[in-house]
């Protein structure tokens, strides 16, 4: 049931959260960009702390999962809700030139930043053209 997006395929708009097993999965908003060094993914995961975040790379599949944990006082009943789930999940397929052994992940203020470098031997090189 998980949504999958190739990281290098442009996609417009966000899919609405889907319902599976009675639990609503939240689809985090992401920015993905590429430069010569690699691909950077930034994901909004408000309410997720470091110990409730799980990032897995398996056979070129990247999956980000996180649980929302916010402090709620006793006897609080809901009045209004935009956020109707407690779990974020989103998957992406990676491409072989990415070096999944050296991923750098950072979580701060509910924003995850993942830097996936390109394999050194596959980083683009400029070819000098010699004029005769």
């Amino acid at each position: 049931m998980n949504e999958k997006t190739d990281m290098t395929t442009a996609e417009r708009g966000r899919t609405l959260p889907r319902q599976g097993d009675g639990e609503i999965e939240l689809l985090p908003a992401v920015d993905i960009y590429e430069n010569d060094a690699g691909i950077t993914l930034e994901a909004d995961l408000p309410g997720v702390s470091k110990d409730r975040l799980d990032i897995q790379i398996d056979h070129n599949n990247l999956t980000i999962e996180g649980e929302v944990a916010v402090e709620v006082s006793e006897n609080v009943k809901p009045l209004y809700a935009d956020v109707r789930g407690t779990r974020y999940r989103r998957s992406f397929s990676l491409s072989p030139e990415l070096d999944t052994e050296n991923v750098d992940a950072n979580l701060g203020n509910g924003v995850l930043s993942l830097k996936i470098p390109k394999r050194a031997e596959l980083q683009p090189r400029r070819i000098e053209v010699k004029a005769h």
């Binding site: 909004d44 408000p46 944990a69 402090e71 006793e74 609080v76 956020v83 407690t86 203020n109």
Partner: protein, 146 residues
């Protein structure tokens, strides 16, 4: 894989149930649930809960510099405004660009008996949590027949 606090779990499950009962975000009759309700994807997403003693607002606003936040309560109307600046990499090629960048403002009406003098707010893991006390006369009273 994860275990999470039952109180949070039950609150959000309750919210999910409530939204199903109401027939989605726009209520059973195709009318917005609140006159200040916002379209899906509005930043920040907001959840509001209340007990007899207090009203709690959660604004899901990741990556904010708290000094940019402007939170105000006037009577029973709460306004949260601020700015999230995302730096765009000029040299990079963007494949997805979904995250909100720029200024935001959300206005929400709360129960009539919130006390504007008793408000506290904190920001943690990208969630702004605003707690407001309700005034005494708004609390339910038990009335016993003589």
């Amino acid at each position: 894989m994860f275990s999470y606090p039952t109180s949070v779990d039950s609150l959000f499950n309750e919210l999910a149930r409530l939204s199903r009962d109401l027939g989605g975000p726009y209520g059973a009759w195709g009318m917005p649930a609140s006159i200040r309700a916002a379209a899906r994807g509005t930043f920040p997403a907001i959840n509001i809960g209340a007990s007899d003693d207090e009203v709690e607002v959660y604004a899901f606003a990741p990556g904010i510099d708290t000094s940019s936040l402007d939170i105000s309560v006037q009577r029973n109307v709460l306004t949260v405004a601020g700015e999230r600046k995302l730096e765009r990499q000029p040299e990079a090629e963007y494949y997805l660009n979904e995250r909100m960048s720029g200024t935001f403002r959300r206005v929400m009406s709360l129960p009539d008996d919130v006390d504007p003098d008793k408000v506290e707010a904190n920001y943690r893991d990208g969630v702004l949590h605003i707690r407001m006390q309700r005034s005494e006369q708004g609390k339910p009273r038990q009335i016993r027949p003589q």
